[in-house]
């Protein structure tokens, strides 16, 4: 298995006039959960799509264990990903959703039931995915990401729509993944969750890396992670409510 590492170097991408990514570079190391935070429109989802070869880039490289995603054979055995849990055919059952992915990666059918069990989907796996709650869709998305037993995982807002029990489960699950030596990149708006989950945090704003440090380093000079975040991103948000925006000028 290739070395479990995501290396992002000098990404630059434009959407029309707006510069979405502006020389973005960071690394996600094996055995760590890296939190990926930033204001809306900072480029988190775009970065993740670029890593997965979904969006093209003008400059820079995004490598998985030294290779671009599109060059991987059976890529989901290298990188598991969850971008949008609603990305489902509503009339197809959860289990069949996992089945087609398994076929594309040449994985045994038994693996489908394993991961469905792993994420606690249970009997719901045989129901139409259109009827799932958001939390169940997240679990199905995570099951899809875990199908190929990948050394690297990329998840966009995995806590979205989860009930408290689900959040606790997710926390333990992510920590467990890192403990097994996997590299995990997790974006989240729930800053409160990060200290319990992540070892490392990459903060981005306006397509640039604002901070790339451990939780301890980041919170060293601030009262809390939230406080550190707000300070870092104050120049990098497109809008801010109320008087805050005026204070910026």
């Amino acid at each position: 298995m290739s070395e479990a590492r995501i290396e992002v170097d000098g990404l630059r991408k434009r959407f029309g006039q707006t510069l979405a990514l502006d020389g973005l570079s960071f690394t996600v190391a094996p055995g760590t959960v890296t939190g990926f935070v930033g204001p809306n429109g900072a480029g988190k989802s775009t970065t993740m799509r670029v890593i997965l070869g979904l969006d093209s880039i003008e400059e820079g490289t995004a490598l998985i264990g030294g290779r671009p995603y599109a060059r991987l054979t059976h890529p989901m055995r290298h990188v598991g990903s969850l971008l949008d849990a609603s990305a489902l055919q509503p009339s197809r059952s959860g289990r069949n959703h996992l089945l087609w992915i398994a076929h594309s990666q040449r994985l045994p059918v038994s693996r489908v039931d394993e991961v469905a069990e792993l994420v606690g989907l249970g009997k719901a796996a045989r129901r139409k995915a259109g009827g799932y709650s958001l939390g169940m869709r997240q679990r199905l998305g995570i099951a899809a990401a875990m199908l190929g037993d990948p050394p690297i995982l990329i998840m966009d807002e995995p806590f979205n729509g989860m009930d408290p029990e689900g959040i606790i489960w997710m926390r333990g699950f992510l920590r467990g993944l890192a403990a097994e030596g996997r590299a995990v990149l997790v974006s989240s708006h729930l800053l409160g969750e990060l200290p319990d989950v992540a070892d490392h945090v990459v903060v981005i704003g306006r397509g640039r890396v604002l901070a790339d440090a451990t939780i301890e380093e980041l919170t060293a000079g601030a009262s809390s992670l939230e406080d550190a975040y707000l300070r870092l991103t104050s120049g990098a948000v497109e809008y801010r409510s109320g008087t805050d925006g005026e204070q910026r000028r």
Partner: protein, 525 residues
């Protein structure tokens, strides 16, 4: 950390294929749609065939009308043929030769209204191009019998023809008293050799015909016939012969065959389909014989009034086409609608491979729908049409197989093309709009469906250059260079040969897929 099976380089496409097939079969709506499409083809074929009835009248009096079709003879090769002519013959036992000089060939053409039964009361002089008169050998005077004949024609010179479809040119030019033609047929066993000459001394062999299992005793004699013009008017031909000699080897060289001339009008009963002008006759004066006849000895064309096995299939196929256009579109656009496409590309980053896998799956499914439905519908339609009194042009099993494969290919190529369009547009409604307008509507111009268009020429072009050309695969009506007949859409003939038509449709599908591949590579998912 556990490691699953090591990834293998080969088989990447098989994985993508299996994956796309799983996606397709696990959406119940699509599977139901596909089965429904096939059932619709069969159902509509039945309904359409059920609505096709044939009857004919033997006289202008309505009380003479009966259900059922007029008699269309079947030739030795199993094809539908026209076999209506006037024969003046003797019996010849064993090998022998018949020789005659033809000194004139003239004709008359019906000049009355098209909807009236032709008669000699209103004609103008004129000889149609395939008017035929000459010498003929046949084992039987039954219609559809094997034969060989050497003949003068209206404007195709002297010809040797046998068994309806075989033809070889002899001396060119038309017949007149100053330019008569000498004709000769020689029988040696199963072989009949035709020769011609302009002076009766210098003979030239045209060709030989092999008539299988020719009996010892055959009819040899003079014949005349004259087919309907390409405008549809009945005609009559009159030919004068002299220097007539039948030499029988059995009776010794130079000995004429005994017996009197006997005239037979073949295929002229009220139930026979070929439209004639007047009745055949012959007149003998000293050394010459004048034979008058109307009809044709040639392959039958659509004017025989028949249907083909695929005639009732058309509407059902169009219905299936629309269903498959919808499913083919959704197969890709539903992934964009739900952002599922990102999961797909995460699983198989080679986008060309994803597109190819999707094309193979939807193409395969569509082919199965078209082919299976046609395989069931064609015999069903044929049976129902026959039961309703329709004549069905005979088609050999290879030709029927071509229509079945063609129906599958027609639906498959359309579905694949629409998959390409859906990939480019990413929107269902737009792709279906383009799919229906480009792949279905041109077919509607067939026989004047889109409205009062009087320009059959436009429909002819649409069936050449638009995807409607693919429907040429359904064409089963026989065509022949030996019949001057308008092979137009209005008469049921597609302008392109079957496989050429399919190639046109294939080009559209290939172009759509190619464009989709280019767009897919360049665009963010």
């Amino acid at each position: 950390m556990s490691s699953l099976v090591e990834p293998s380089r080969s088989g990447g496409f098989r994985g993508a294929l299996l994956s796309e097939w799983t996606k397709f079969r696990t959406v119940r709506g699509w599977m139901i749609g596909v089965v429904l499409a096939a059932l619709m083809v069969v159902l509509f074929t039945f309904l359409q065939a059920n609505g096709m009835h044939t009857g004919y009248c033997t006289t202008p009096n309505p009380s003479s009308c009966v259900t059922g079709h007029q008699y269309v003879p079947t030739g030795p090769a199993g094809d539908a043929v026209a076999d209506t002519y006037e024969l003046v013959a003797k019996r010849l036992t064993g090998d022998g030769t018949i020789t005659a000089r033809i000194t004139s060939l003239a004709g008359r053409i019906w000049a009355g209204p098209a909807n009236e039964a032709p008669s000699l009361s209103d004609t103008r002089p004129g000889l149609t191009s395939w008017a035929k008169a000459g010498l003929l050998i046949t084992p039987s005077t039954k219609q559809g019998s094997s034969y060989a004949a050497v003949m003068a024609t209206g404007s195709h010179g002297v010809r040797l023809q046998y068994d309806y479809t075989h033809d070889r040119a002899g001396l060119p030019g038309s017949i007149s008293s100053t330019a008569p033609r000498w004709l000769r047929l020689t029988r040696t066993g199963d072989t009949i050799t035709g020769s011609d000459s302009s002076d009766g001394t210098n003979w030239r062999r045209i060709d030989s015909a092999h008539l299988a299992r020719l009996p010892t005793t055959v009819y040899v004699g003079l014949f005349a016939t004259s087919p309907t013009t390409s405008e549809g008017s009945a005609t009559q031909a009159m030919a004068s012969f002299d220097h007539i000699a039948i030499d029988s080897v059995a009776n010794g060289a130079g000995q004429a065959a005994p017996g009197a001339w006997h005239a037979t009008s073949i295929g002229t009963g009220p139930q026979d389909y070929y439209t004639r002008l007047g009745n055949g006759s012959y007149r003998q004066a000293r050394d010459s014989i004048v034979v008058t006849g109307s009809g044709d000895i040639a392959p039958a064309v659509a004017s025989a009034g028949g249907d083909t096995a695929s005639d009732s299939l058309l509407f059902g196929l169009v219905v299936a086409l629309i269903v498959l256009i919808v499913i083919g579109t959704m197969f890709i656009t539903s992934e964009y609608r739900r952002s599922l496409i990102r999961t797909t590309f995460a699983a198989t980053p080679d986008r060309g491979r994803v597109l190819a896998a999707k094309a193979v799956v939807i193409g395969g499914v569509a082919f199965a729908v078209g082919a299976v439905a046609a395989a069931v519908a064609i015999p069903l339609g044929e049976h129902v049409m026959s039961a309703n009194g329709n004549y069905i042009f005979p088609a050999d099993s290879l030709t029927v197989a071509r229509v079945i494969v063609g129906s599958g290919a027609l639906v498959a190529l359309t579905a694949v093309a629409v998959l390409g369009i859906g990939t480019i547009l990413r929107r269902s409604a737009g792709a279906i709009l383009v799919g229906v307008v480009v792949f279905v509507l041109p077919t509607f111009t067939g026989p004047g469906i889109i409205g009062p268009t009087s320009s059959g020429g436009a429909a002819m072009w649409l069936y050449r250059v638009t995807p409607a050309a693919g429907f040429s695969m359904l064409g089963l009506l026989p065509r022949s260079g030996l019949v001057s007949y308008p092979y137009t859409m209005a008469n049921g003939y597609y302008p392109l040969p079957p496989w050429a038509g399919l190639l046109v449709l294939g080009a559209y599908a290939a172009a759509a897929l190619f464009a989709a591949r280019v767009v897919l590579r360049r665009r963010d998912a």
